[in-house]
């Protein structure tokens, strides 16, 4: 009996070793351990074993069963591992991706968002105003002479009712001061309109970012520090910024802001990027008259204002040579800014 069990064990182990697939494995399991399997049949012979041998034979039987089971399991694991390996062997991970639709924000939005994020960190809140404006908000309140060329129908879009499309976002300064008490610290990105034929450097509808800070004792030093920090955040901490005296009707003193741009292979160049200045007292006087109170009394408060063209900022930041690219929305253009 013991010899027979040894024979079964040895047959089973060599049969299992030779197995190459799962069907063979099952066949072996049934052949040795199944109801009619050899080991099962052999164990049926236990009852004929003399009593004094029963213990030894029983032990042997158990040992053989465990050996066969272990061999089957071992073989099974080998076969599964081989199958698992085979399952992905033919996958080519270097194929191009399964496509997802590509999308992205317009470059102007990138620039606008970045500018807004920086300025909000600096304590500015957003403000807005209508794009269809009154002449008072767009010009009179901003100390623009009655016969200033910007008011001409050749330069500004008008409506039959006398209103106009704002020529700058500076009108939001007035809208804000009309309804808010000082101190005021706002930025207003938005569209502005000028009656220009569209070409590489002009759009009839363009985008500006306006800023206004009104409080007690606001100075040119505050304006300088604010814009220097802003442009260094936007263009890099080593950006050179300069302030050139200029003229705007609604600020005095007025300055234009230039950045020094370093393009590879070219001499560094000063590029005009923004206008700014100390709010002209005449603007506060207009606002005070309209409000009918002394909240913006020019002898009590002061302020600075700045404005910049966002389209121009985008051109400079990304090296876009022609403004028309910004309104064509060509996917080949937009996808360059998708990441």
């Amino acid at each position: 009996m013991l010899a027979e069990l040894d024979a079964i064990k040895s047959d089973a182990l060599s049969a299992i070793a030779a197995i190459t697939d799962e069907a063979g494995l099952e066949e072996a399991r049934v052949g040795f351990l199944g109801k009619k399997g050899r080991l099962t049949a052999a164990s049926a012979g236990m009852r004929d074993v003399p009593r004094e041998q029963k213990k030894d034979v029983g032990q042997k039987l158990n040992e053989v069963r465990m050996a066969i089971t272990a061999a089957l399991e071992g073989k099974g694991a080998v076969l599964t591992a081989a199958k698992d390996a085979a399952a992905f062997a033919s996958i080519d991970a270097t194929l191009p991706s399964r496509p997802l639709p590509e999308g992205g924000l317009h470059p102007l939005t990138h620039v606008l968002n970045e500018a807004v994020f920086i300025l909000r960190r600096m304590g500015f809140a957003l403000a807005e105003g209508p794009e269809i404006e009154t002449e008072w908000h767009c010009f009179d309140a901003l100390n623009t002479p009655e016969d200033h060329p910007a008011r001409n129908e050749s330069d500004t879009f008008y409506f039959e009712n006398g209103k106009l499309l704002r020529t700058h976002t500076s009108s939001v300064q007035i809208r804000t001061m009309e309804k808010e008490m000082p101190p005021v610290r706002i930025i207003a990105p938005g569209s502005a309109f000028r009656r220009d034929e569209i070409d590489a450097t002009h759009l009839s509808v363009f985008h500006q970012l306006e800023g206004l800070y009104v409080d007690k004792n606001v100075t040119l030093a505050d304006l300088k520090g604010t814009l220097e920090y802003f442009f260094r955040e936007l263009f890099g901490s080593r950006t050179e910024v300069r302030f050139r005296p200029h003229f705007f009707p609604f600020t005095e003193p007025s300055f234009e802001v230039d950045l020094k741009l370093h393009a590879t292979g070219k001499a560094a160049k000063w590029i005009e990027i923004a206008g700014c200045g100390i709010v002209d007292p005449a603007v506060f006087t207009e606002v005070s008259t309209k409000r009918g109170d002394a909240a913006y009394d020019p002898s009590e408060i002061s302020g600075f204002a700045f404005g910049m063209g966002l389209d121009r900022l985008a051109m400079i930041m990304y090296g876009i040579p022609d403004l028309r690219l910004l309104i064509e929305n060509d996917v080949r253009f937009l996808s360059q800014f998708a990441k």
Binding site: L95, P96, R98, P99, L100, E102, G103, G104, L105, H106, L108, T109, N113, M122, F124, A125, L126, E128, P130, E131, I132, D147, E153, F157, Y158, F159, N161, P183, R185, I186, F193, L203, S204, V205, T219, L220, A221, K224, G225, T226, E228, Y229, R242, F243, R244, P245, H246, F247, E252, P253, F255, D280, P281, S302, L326, N329, D330, V331, L334, S335
Partner: protein, 794 residues
């Protein structure tokens, strides 16, 4: 304004300044340098030694010229206005000339009709000096052959003078400003302002002023002048800044204009009929100006007239028939002061802008009127001879000098934000020609812009320079505004949509009449689009009432660029007029999708087209839960639906969605179906603001039942969804549509029917449901479906 460096050096010595340093000096004065013109290398003075007809071309000559090299140079030339012995500009090979439109061309040796030509003789327009294209430029005979032309006409700055500084619209003005900033001596100008000529008030028959537009007018008469060519120094000065010499008298008036900024006019006495009458024009009066154009005048315009006719549009332009010509012997020289705004109005209305009107409309120093006349008379006597009448005849009064302005130095420092010492403030103002009186600063008569204390602060700040002002960086807490909240909301939608494969478009807010038909936004409540009064062209005559027209144009354009498969979104303001004529501005969001769902790839060689269900999926991503598309009658779209949050009467209507009519899509070259949606973004923002609250996760299992039902083919799934939503059954948890089947052939189902299959899930929050409970609830639901929607179960 063009300013010649050589001319400036009459007044200030800038010889130790490089061009860049001068550029900087001007820039920090507040004068923008728009460009620096200088003549190219290899452009020299040459003398024409001989000129013979070209053997093979009637219109060409073959010249030998002396370019100073010692060897005559052969040039083939087409001009005829020169004579042998004339000095002309010669561009030698290698000389690079401006060809206009930002292009250049280089002169090379070559053959013209078989004859060798070693350069080009040039007209004034060809070297960019003046607009004179009429034959070769004839240079002064005194110039030495071979002299580089850039020595004769040195660099010219193109300056942009801001409107508040008309005093800088002359060489003397710019020199005065630069001298102050560079702390240099201003030379050769002391005689300019003051006049030593005796004056007498005009008799009525001599000068009469009957208009408020002219406060002060002077005339001086010179008899027996000899009109002729100006000397080289004068011609070169004018040419260097782009002015074409005419004759000595006219050139002198132009010289004084550019030197002092005082416009003058010289009349031929023989062509004046009686004395000068400064008056408003008669309505409809016509005037032939010296530019050859006839201008219709109105009562708003001022003219200088004699007793029978207008001889000049005051301050703007003289007449064709009264100017100085070669036959003139007696000259009346006008020097006057006109009211700024009146000249501006006339110049603008007539669209007639002269060097004279440019200065008068910005403001001219009235105290230099006499001095300018003196300077011109002095030059006329020198260059054209004749005898001036002893006295200058004047009419009217010189306006009062500017009032003095008090400046509190502490105020000045408080605006600048820097500790500028009193001495520095006073030194700056003094350098600019102001003088300190007892309690205020006296303002020079040419500084028309210095009226208020802040105007003086500006001067101090400008000269002190922002470089010397500290950079303050400090801010305070700023509460977020509504605009801030909206910005954040919109940014979130932007990034969601771009992650979903949408590109953001930004279209012009002005659209054409034709594009209005694509609009979805102005359908209701009598809202109408807003037209501009003065559009630039008919492509941009309306403010956009919605965003879809722009997006359709964008899709169409992209189709032409080769991008047929696109998803776009646009956010921005739209404009409509209310029935009462008021304007309303809204913030909208529009989506457009067309073409194949994904890019073609190895994974899917033939992707299917996007459809309305993709559009809905995108809308669901950006809208709060409970989005519904409710079919509406709207012939502007196929499958038109109202986009709503919530159901029934409580629903918030956000906008419209649908498919662009195929005929319109084809007009735009869009072949695949084009899905569009437009919503009011602020409405969405408020609908999306609902509070989120945690609900306990289910502890007990759900039990589901499937039901397949046969319904009329035109029954919208949305109606069935509404039915389920309104079905009152506390155990009903969710309903999912998992199959839609239709058989147009009628074999498997009647052709007018469709099968909808739903999986319905029941659950209780406090127990595991018994099978019997579920069956009861389900049976109730089926009964109710049968009676409510007349469905059959399959």
């Amino acid at each position: 304004m063009n300013v010649s460096l050589k001319w400036l050096s009459d007044h200030v010595d800038f010889s130790e300044y490089s061009m860049d340093e001068l550029d900087d000096l001007l820039t920090f004065t507040g004068i923008e340098v728009e460009g620096i013109q200088s003549l190219p290398d290899n452009l020299v003075v040459a003398e024409v030694l001989s000129s013979e007809k070209h053997p093979d071309a009637d219109k060409l000559s073959v010249c030998q010229v002396d370019d100073g090299s010692g060897t005559p140079r052969q040039i083939v030339c087409g001009a005829r206005n020169y004579r042998v012995g004339d000095k002309v500009p010669l561009a030698r090979p290698g000389c690079v000339l401006d060809a206009g439109d930002g292009k250049t061309f280089e002169i090379r040796e070559g053959k013209l009709r078989g004859v060798e030509s070693l350069g080009m003789m040039c007209a004034a327009s060809e070297i960019g000096l003046t607009d004179d294209a009429d034959g070769l430029m004839i240079l002064s005979p005194d110039l030495k052959s071979g002299t580089p032309l850039s020595e004769v006409y040195p660099a010219v700055f193109e300056l942009e003078i801001t409107p508040n500084r008309p005093d800088c619209l002359s060489h003397l003005g710019v020199a005065r400003e630069l001298a102050a900033l560079a702390k240099k001596e201003l030379a050769g100008a002391s005689h300019h302002g003051d006049s030593s000529t005796p004056t007498r008030a005009a008799k009525d028959k001599e000068i009469k002023i009957s208009t408020e537009s002219c406060p002060y007018y002077t005339a001086r008469i010179i008899h027996g002048v000899k009109v002729g060519e100006s000397p080289a120094w004068l011609k070169e000065k004018l040419e260097s800044i782009g002015l074409r010499p005419i004759n000595n008298i006219v050139d002198i008036t132009n010289y004084v204009l550019m030197e002092m900024g005082q416009p003058l006019h010289a009349f031929d006495m023989a062509k004046l009929d009686g004395g000068i009458n400064v008056r408003q024009a008669a309505e409809g009066e016509e005037f032939l100006a010296l530019d050859g154009e006839t201008y219709p005048l109105t009562e708003e315009d001022m003219v200088i007239a004699d007793s029978s006719k207008a001889v000049a549009i005051g301050g703007v332009m003289g007449g064709e028939d009264s100017g100085v010509t070669e036959t003139t012997t007696d000259v009346l020289l006008e020097s006057a002061y006109f009211v700024t705004s009146k000249i501006r109005r006339t110049a603008r209305r007539l669209n007639l802008h002269s060097d004279s009107s440019y200065r008068f409309e910005r403001g001219v120093d009235p105290y230099q009127v006499n001095g300018a006349s003196d300077l011109a008379i002095k030059l006329i006597l020198e260059l054209a001879g004749g005898k001036a009448e002893e006295e200058m005849v004047t009419c009217g009064e010189i306006p009062a000098a500017p009032a003095s302005v008090a400046l509190d130095n502490d105020y000045c420092r408080s605006v600048i934000g820097a500790e500028v010492p009193d001495e520095a403030i006073e030194a700056i103002l003094t350098s600019l020609g102001l003088s300190k009186g007892a309690d205020a600063w006296d303002i020079p008569t040419y500084r028309l812009d210095l009226i208020r204390p802040i105007d003086l602060v500006e001067e101090v700040a400008r000269v002190y320079g922002l470089d010397n002002v500290p950079s303050n960086q400090g801010a305070w807490f700023s509460p977020a505004s509504q605009a801030d909240h909206y910005f954040d909301f919109a940014s979130g939608i932007q990034s969601t949509l771009s992650s979903l494969g949408f590109f953001e478009a930004r279209n012009l807010k002005l659209i054409s009449d034709q594009q209005l038909t694509d609009d979805l936004a102005t359908s209701h409540r009598g809202m109408s689009p807003i037209r501009l009064k003065n559009p630039l062209n008919d492509e941009q005559d309306y403010l956009r009432p919605g965003l879809v027209p722009g997006l359709l144009a964008t899709a169409s354009r992209n189709q032409r660029f080769g991008n047929a498969d696109v998803r776009f979104f646009e956010m921005g303001r739209v404009f409509t007029a209310t029935p009462k004529g008021g304007e309303v501005e809204h913030e909208h969001l529009a989506l457009l999708m067309t073409g194949e769902r994904t890019a073609r790839s190895w994974a899917d060689g033939k992707p299917s087209n996007l459809d309305i269900h993709d559009l809905r999926a995108a809308l669901e991503e950006i809208c709060p839960k409970g989005l519904n598309l409710v079919p509406v009658d709207d012939d502007r779209m196929l499958c038109a639906c109202s986009i709503e949050i919530g159901r029934g009467k409580k629903a918030t209507k956000l906008g419209l969605a649908g498919i662009v009519p195929l005929a319109r899509a084809r007009e735009l070259d869009l072949e695949a179906p084009v899905m569009v949606a437009e919503i009011n973004l602020k409405k969405l923002a408020s609908a999306a603001g609902a509070d989120l609250k945690y609900k306990e996760l289910p502890k007990f299992p759900s039990s589901s039942r499937d039901v397949a039902m046969l319904v009329s083919a035109d029954l919208a799934a949305g109606i069935v969804a509404d039915f389920f939503a309104n079905h009152e059954e506390p155990l009903l948890e969710s309903v999912e549509l998992f199959d839609v089947f239709q058989d147009p052939s009628g074999e498997k189902l009647p052709a007018d029917k469709k099968s909808l299959a739903y999986s319905i899930s029941y659950r209780s929050g406090d127990r595991t449901l018994e099978a019997a409970e579920v069956e009861t609830a389900h049976a109730k639901l089926l009964d109710s479906l049968k009676s409510g929607l007349h469905v059959e179960f399959r």
